[in-house]
Symmetry: C2
Subunit: 774 residues, 2 copies
């Protein structure tokens, strides 16, 4: 554990180091002389007695000497650890029974003879961090406690535990002598391992449960994507077959100048329906009976996925001994102790401590929510402005004499660029706003702070990412009016979808997001750390004494970039999960692209953690935290989204209706789906057709209402069936697998028996022989 120190606030540092020394830590100072400045490293280590004290204090789990052999032999059974996808790794964690460390019972723990190896590296880091987090550097009353706050105030530059040996140094080391980091570098990070399960136990040993749960979730999600991707691809291929035999497609393509369509803007000419033959055909690829099946499948898939993740989560937290991990009374955030206006007796510990009344916080949260809603309103206003911009630009370009399709192209490209710039700018503003608001709400614990921040940012990102698809799916091209009586926004006609329907436009949008954005994102994820690393090295190197020995591990790790938490990783994945569940009806290929991306993502993240980040302090966790709740919300939204997409955006229901009344035949569907321009309009213009179900006066026709009944009935049916299935799955699949449950109960039984033997048989009441036999 090192602190790189700049040269201000000497007093605070001295007090802090004094306190650490009082806590029994060993300290060793090293300097790195560079041109401009000296970087001081303070190496901390804890002696055996301190380790023991804190290990008990922190309820650390350590392995017992073979106690319940039979039990443990069955404990680490091979979950997902056989076959091609599994790889036998060196230094497999031994199968032990762990329980809370007690100094008094030191003898009964495995490996307690060797004080150097009894506590693992990770455990030592946790203990040291606990000491650092609680050491005083000023008045406790003012909450001047802990290294985090000192880092915030730039008294220290960094504090980090040391990595294991550099991974690349030892290609010749025998397998079972490899450090954990080397194992991870060899068996986890390489691209060639793409088809293997991740070595989760090793990840957990080296990085702690919190990070291991992220990778476990990511791997689990990727595995579950596989069937979805396969079925999605099959459905897509099936679409080709359908499109090649579809009667309306033939009718469109062979219509010649039969259907003269009404102009799309005031100054535009009429156009022939046959001109959109290709795009109409492409639309059928995405919009056919397969879509309906697939969106049903994906709705059920997402519910089942979450249910089975809970089971896997329970299995992992059992294996990792954190099933009964309840957050130890979490310390207050340094910022909170610094800024809380009142002092109160903590109802739990009975000590005086800084306090911020709950009602005040609620007021601030309420005010904050208003600000957030305002921001979301701003986002939506910008979105509307971009739409208006596209309409106006399109008109201007058309008026200037360019042809229709390039006008549309210019409008949409410049529109997208403006939208991108605005989105990026707003995102910057919003994240800092969210951070400011969350700070202002003064949450007492780090968990509460992180949850509040996560929630705020997630809501914004949700709106930010999903606003455009939602607009295309449910609003665009829906409120157009009819020729001669167009509905306008600010005097301009509402945008229509491109010919071929809104679903194909949504599919395009999805492809851009799922492929384009993900590729960009991955490139960013590859390049940014490299650049950052390079820059970090560069600034350091340029300053640094050239003759200096560069091999000291603390200097090597200082050059790495700091670990910034898992928020961005989770956010990216959760947004992706939203796309492949909510809008899957528009693009059955989405799960495939998600799968491909995640295969890359796993190894990219692995590389980052093994090579590019400073080692994070291992944190305990028993699940993926607030993200479970967010995933559950997305799943519910997905069911609703799919129902509405199939009902309103796809062409399935109108076709079914026509087919039903036309003896199962789709011939003439195109004619049926096109309305005649109303007489009032025709009097001044040429007669033309337009998409819609209206009579000759422009009123919604009988067919429109019957189809609307079908649409709504479909939504009700779909939602009730899927939600009912979800409930059933929830009810039938226990959250904790039976095997884990039996093991837990077995352990409880053995523990009780052991206790009873100790306390009862030997010490008290003399039992009659019958009682013993019983």
């Amino acid at each position: 554990m090192q602190g790189a120190v700049d040269e201000t606030s000497e007093d605070l540092r001295t007090t802090f180091f004094d306190c650490l020394r009082k806590n029994g830590l060993n300290m060793e100072e090293h300097c790195l002389q560079t041109k401009d400045q000296t970087i001081h490293f303070m190496l901390l280590s804890a002696p055996w007695a301190v380790l023991c004290y804190y290990a008990e204090e922190m309820s650390m789990k350590v392995p017992l000497k073979a106690c319940f052999d039979k039990l443990r032999a069955r404990r680490h059974d091979k979950i997902m650890e056989s076959g091609l996808l599994y790889e036998s790794l060196p230094r497999r964690p031994p199968e032990t029974f762990n329980c809370n460390f007690k100094v008094r019972k030191l003898k009964s723990f495995l490996g307690s003879e060797n004080q150097d190896t009894f506590f693992t590296n990770t455990q030592r880091h946790q203990i040291l961090y606990e000491i650092l987090a609680n050491a005083l550097y000023g008045s406790r009353h003012q909450g001047e406690v802990g290294v985090e706050r000192l880092l915030n105030e730039n008294v220290f530059v960094a504090a980090y535990p040391l990595h294991d040996e550099e991974s690349t140094n030892a290609p010749e080391t025998p397998e079972d002598r490899l450090t954990h980091r080397q194992i991870l570098a060899k068996y986890w990070a390489p691209w060639l391992k793409w088809y293997k399960y991740q070595p989760l136990n090793h990840i957990r040993k080296y990085f702690g449960e919190k990070i291991a749960f992220y990778f476990a979730w990511l791997g689990f999600y990727t595995t579950w994507l596989l069937p979805a991707a396969v079925i999605g691809t099959l459905i897509f291929v099936f679409g080709f077959y359908v499109a090649s035999r579809d009667i309306p497609v033939m009718e469109v393509c062979q219509s010649g100048d039969l259907y003269s369509m009404c102009p799309v803007c005031k100054v535009c000419p009429t156009w022939n329906l046959s001109s959109i033959c290709a795009i109409y055909k492409a639309g059928i690829l995405f919009d056919n009976a397969g879509t309906l099946l697939f969106s049903f499948f994906m709705s059920v898939w997402s519910v089942t996925f979450l249910e089975y993740w809970k089971r896997y989560n329970a299995t992992l937290s059992y294996r990792w001994d954190c099933l009964d991990f309840t957050e130890i009374e979490e310390p207050a955030r340094p910022e909170f102790t610094a800024m809380a206006p009142l002092t109160i007796q903590n109802p739990i510990t009975g000590q005086n401590e800084p306090y911020f009344p709950k009602t005040w916080r609620l007021q601030r949260i309420f005010a904050g929510s208003m600000v957030i809603m305002l921001m979301i309103a701003v986002v939506i206003i910008f979105l509307i402005s971009v739409i208006l911009y596209r309409i106006i630009i399109f008109l201007l370009v058309v008026k200037s004499g360019m042809i229709y399709s390039s006008a549309s192209l210019i409008a949409s490209i410049t529109g997208s660029m403006i939208s991108l710039i605005i989105t990026l700018m707003l995102s910057k503003v919003y994240v800092s706003l969210a951070r400011f608001l969350t700070r202002w709400e003064l949450h007492r614990t780090q968990t509460a702070y992180e949850d509040a921040f996560t929630f705020k940012v997630f809501i914004f990102e949700f709106v930010n990412y999903y606003a455009t698809p939602i607009y295309i799916a449910f609003i665009k091209g829906r409120f157009l009016g009819y020729p001669g009586n167009e509905i306008t926004i600010a005097g301009y006609r509402n945008e229509n979808c491109k010919p071929g329907g809104c679903l194909i436009e949504l599919a395009q949008q999805m492809l851009i997001i799922m492929v384009g954005k993900q590729i960009l994102n991955n490139i960013k994820e590859i390049l940014f750390p490299k650049l950052e690393h390079f820059w970090h090295n560069f600034t350091l190197r340029s300053n640094e004494d050239q003759g200096h020995d560069q091999n000291k591990p603390w200097e090597r790790d200082y050059r790495l970039i700091p670990y910034k938490g898992l928020f961005d990783e989770y956010l990216e994945m959760v947004i992706q999960f939203g796309f492949i569940t909510i809008f899957v009806a528009a693009c059955p290929l989405a799960p495939l692209f998600a799968l491909l991306n995640n295969w890359i993502e796993v190894r990219l993240d692995a590389k980052k953690f093994v090579y590019e980040y400073r080692r994070p302090v291992a944190q305990r966790a028993q699940d993926i935290g607030v993200w479970t709740a967010i995933l559950e919300a997305i799943t519910s939204i997905a069911v609703i989204g799919n129902a509405f997409l199939v009902a309103f955006t796809s062409d399935i229901l109108p076709r079914a209706y026509y087919q039903y009344y036309n003896n199962g035949n789709l011939t003439g569907y195109i004619n049926f789906s096109l309305a005649q321009a109303p007489e009032v309009y025709v009097r001044k213009n040429t007669p033309c057709r337009y998409q819609g179900m209206r009579d000759s006066e422009g009123n919604l026709s009988f067919d429109f209402w019957v189809i609307m009944v079908m649409r709504l009935a479909f939504i009700i049916l779909f939602e009730h069936v899927v939600f009912f299935l979800g409930r059933m799955i929830d009810f039938l699949v226990p959250d904790v697998p039976e095997s884990v449950d039996i093991k837990l109960r077995r352990e409880r039984f053995l523990a009780k028996q052991a206790l009873a033997e100790n306390e009862f048989l030997t010490e008290t009441w003399q039992m009659s022989p019958q009682m013993v036999n019983k």
Copy 2:
């Protein structure tokens, strides 16, 4: 604890008593000589050492000597215990901190000096019952264990703990000397206590947590009914105001012979709409804008009710020290051990024990489900037969020359009677079938058995009770066709609702169920126990030696009727809960009647438990078990039911549609809602009108489809809003109240501190002074 013994199976009894004696129980035999036979009573009691051993074995909670005073002073805070509704009772349970009994730490428990009073009555019963339940009377291998199985096989007639002193014996005893039963008799059972909260702590002390939770739930539910009843009554009164000013009502009543309605059967005459003026007006009482509001209110009410019940439940189980109560490894049911075909090593305890493979059980459950579905199909077929019967009888009576209204009356009265008889018969068949099937499924534990049985019977009772209301609300009068083209069932025209609409008929049905059935039920609940008690006494008395001393407590209790479990009590309440939530739109008075009924129910049940039942063995519980899940399911069904009722059964939406297109005016609505008989029909008959939205050819009209869109859209809107609100309430209202949470964490903190002090400070590692200060 007594066993009344008949004269067979002497061997088994001897073995059993031997085993009990080996377990250290004291036994005392008494005889009651009657004319025909001798009734043997075996009085059992346990000495101190046995009590201690089992108290530790069973993890009993006993009060610690004042240990965490400050904490506990705040523990039993006054939950619902102030104001008019609260009554200060004698012998209030002391505010103590309870923890698991340990013989080793006997000295530190409160009251351990006095061995006679340290364990309460209830605890002694539990211990004795545990011994009785586990005593061998034959081969353990064949599961010949426990008094339950002996009772099943009629080796014993009864086994019960003794009640406290007879309640009526001691009117003069000073308040704080009263036994618990006397307190309950004085402060809980009397009718005059109807406005008081129940003394739950005393109930729990005397009857155990399981029964106390039933009464807590009943009381909580009754309290929550109060606002629903008040608002429901207001809405009903508001209905009078609406009905008096309703324009369609005036149109109906003043129409004279303007609307000549088509005949309701082939041989019936046409009739004037004005003849149903009164009943149409009555319909408006139940069917107005208030209904819509109220059904929304009740949907949200039911979700909120459940959420707050969970909180209250958590509070109670904290107060009663059963929050961390996890089912101790439950013993196998005697029947299971007797009938299980295989033997296997229990994975938890490692002992050999009877086994029934899970897959076999699943097969049986599957086969059982088929039988149940068949039974439900039978119920539905009977229901349809009754409907057909009504139609045919109606026609026959009309043909025989009686007038229309009395024909309808005769048909419906005889129909109801047949339906009642069939329902009762089927119910008998079904319950024994369910019992047989559940036995056949061979569940290992009593809990699993009870849950399976509860679930089966509940499903049947649900269909049984709700089939008729569902038929009236959603099917009756909906598939009629139109004059000249009636839809028929088995050659007869489908039944129509009575004039005035289906909602008023549903309201009538609800009133019959909520008032009539409940009154009958309560009379049954009052009379049956009395009769049973009388009969029990009579058979005993007639046999009995006349000169015998009747005051011995075991004989007195033997005369009481055995406690039969809470299933029927819960079932009645849950079915009622279903009525007031699912069908509330039809009858806003339902919550009022439910409230009145429950006020009676609470005291009736109290009387039964205090005076008429043998004392049940206290059972631990931490909630109301499987009923929570059933209530949750009902709540979901209620939201859907309300949405469909308002959309389809009520007249609100068609009226709103007409009003919208008629400039906010309802004038002419009656004319709008009546279709003209189609021309084909008029050619042969007189022109007439009928309820429906059809054109002159009998096809569904444009208006029909638009209104259908409104109906479906309303359902979607209603369900999404209510379910979203439900999720929000679920999310915002924590399941465990914050006050309880803080106390729990405080206790955990203190426990940890106590442990640390004991084990660390005193025994090991010498700490430096700084560490102590820290």
